[in-house]
Amino acid sequence: MAEVTTLREAVAEMVEDGDSVALEGFTHLIPTAAAHEIIRQERRNLTLIRMTPDLIYDQMIGMGCAEKLIFSWGGNPGVGSLHRFRDAVEHGWPQALEIEEHSHAGMANRYVAGASNLPFAVLRGYVGTDLPEVTSTIAPITCPFTGEQLMAVPGLNPDVGIIHAQQTDRKGNVALWGITGIQKEAVLSARRAIVTVEEVVDSFEPRPFQIVLPHVAIDAVAVVPRGAHPSYTHDYYDRDNAFYEAWDPVSRDRDRFGEWMERHVIGTEDFDEYLESVREEGAIEV
């Protein structure tokens, strides 16, 4: 049953050191505010799960929250590298990062299996690539009906699933629309689910491609306007492409990264203050 609470309380109650945590949102609706709150509360030894780690996991890895990353594409979309991710993999900074690497199709099917309470999913893929050589969670399986060789991947059941959405109603049902990616599966596969939203409404209006997650599937809802920045929220605000480009030089350098995080994330109380802080610095549209 979804409780409407603050993001700070939701993270304090539901995210523990050592948890596996999936913050999802496929380019759209990335839960940045929640990632920042986990960084502020200094969670450690997390297993971070996310198809596209993006800036939020670059920040969490660089701030020492993660001991393992399960992912399928670790770049800064349209810009280049995630430098904190690379520094962790290439140089073990700020600590060694174990990686478990899949393709998008593999990750998507892992979430589907997890949400279905199945031990594994099957797909036609990976054969002939080097991924099964380095990733132990990819294994061949024979179809019992046709004899076809397929690949199996284990279901994902994160301790905590976190997404950002457009709206919640008074009961804690959650509506999201536009590109909805893997968010439904991230919530339904998780043991505990936290959702941040742009606003509370009395009732949802029909929208193209909308999905509604019933309140019984969600443990906590917190209102965090612009909580996906620099990602976007369809019908609320656009992707801040300039921020993604500006992140490249900030994240390239360990000291500059640390100062940036100290000033804008550690040194602020919440996401409103963070937005104010980056806004004052200019060059970033929020």
Binding site: T52, S72, S103, A105, A108, L123, D130, E185, E285
Partner: protein, 266 residues
């Protein structure tokens, strides 16, 4: 972007523009095309704005029939969902569309390619102690596996056209010959590789990529120097038709709209 190389010919276009135009021409009207970000997305949208208005652009974020007016920076930009025929979930796009065989053409880029069109987007150096950690697989392995055919567009350089991949992220023609067929994939694998120097296609028997066309101004020697293996060259190498005024104008307008949109949002 298109401004770092000056025109190789007198026609007033850059080699990158030639590459985009040559890649766009390969896409037939009406095809369902699974589009990677960057150069493939540029070429696919140029095709849609010129000879292939009915091609159905699919992006891995779940947008089907995307009609972006500007080039997206990421595969999940809002412009892709805005006028799409449909927007579906990520499991649906990979399972019901790609794996089920509903995609005609997979349009990919890549960091490294070998002579059989296998692709590395994962790591330079060893996997456990990498020299450069690249973003990784994304949607590419299954696009390469299940699209009915794969087209690739990337600049031809010795460090990207390599004798041996450091890691096989996505399978092309594997070890050549019939070795791909043994894997049981639906798709036929790479049929065309478009670069800034020319066009390569696999030999029908050996499946080794063969230079079949040179863009105006490019030479066989130049293509050989830009390739990290002993490049196979067709007996008769065609010369690519230079970009038409319309193709160049449409491509530049696409970039101008994209730049204006980015400037407007920053």
């Amino acid at each position: 972007m298109n401004d770092q190389v000056s025109g190789a010919a007198d026609g007033g276009y850059t080699t990158d523009e030639m590459m985009a135009v040559a890649a766009a021409r390969e896409l037939r009207d009406g095809a369902v095309c699974f589009v990677g970000i960057g150069l493939p997305s540029e070429a696919a949208n140029l095709a849609r704005a010129t000879h292939a208005p009915n091609c159905v652009l699919v992006y891995e974020s779940g947008t089907i029939g995307a009609k972006p007016e500007t080039l997206p920076l990421s595969i999940g930009d809002g412009v892709l969902a805005e006028h799409a025929d449909s927007v579906v979930s990520v499991p649906e796009i990979f399972n019901y569309w790609l794996q089920a065989g509903r995609v005609d053409v997979g349009f990919l880029g890549g960091a490294q390619i070998d002579r059989y069109g296998n692709i590395n987007t994962t790591v330079i150096g060893s996997y456990d102690d990498p020299k450069v950690r690249l973003p990784g697989a994304g949607g590419a392995p299954e696009i390469a596996a299940s699209a009915k055919e794969v087209m690739m567009v990337l600049r031809q350089r010795p460090r990207s056209f390599v004798e041996r991949l450091d890691y096989v992220t996505s399978v092309g023609h594997r070890h050549g010959g019939d070795s791909r067929a043994e894997l049981g994939y639906l798709g036929a694998g790479p049929t065309t590789v478009i670069t800034d120097l020319g066009v390569l296609r696999p030999d029908p028997e050996t499946k080794e990529l063969t230079l079949v066309s040179l863009h105006p101004g490019a030479t066989v020697e130049g293509a050989r120097e830009a390739t990290g293996w002993e490049l196979r060259v067709a007996e008769k190498v065609a010369t690519t038709e230079p970009p038409t005024d319309e193709e160049v104008a449409v491509l530049r307008a696409l970039h101008a709209r994209t730049a204006a949109a980015r400037a407007g949002s920053s």
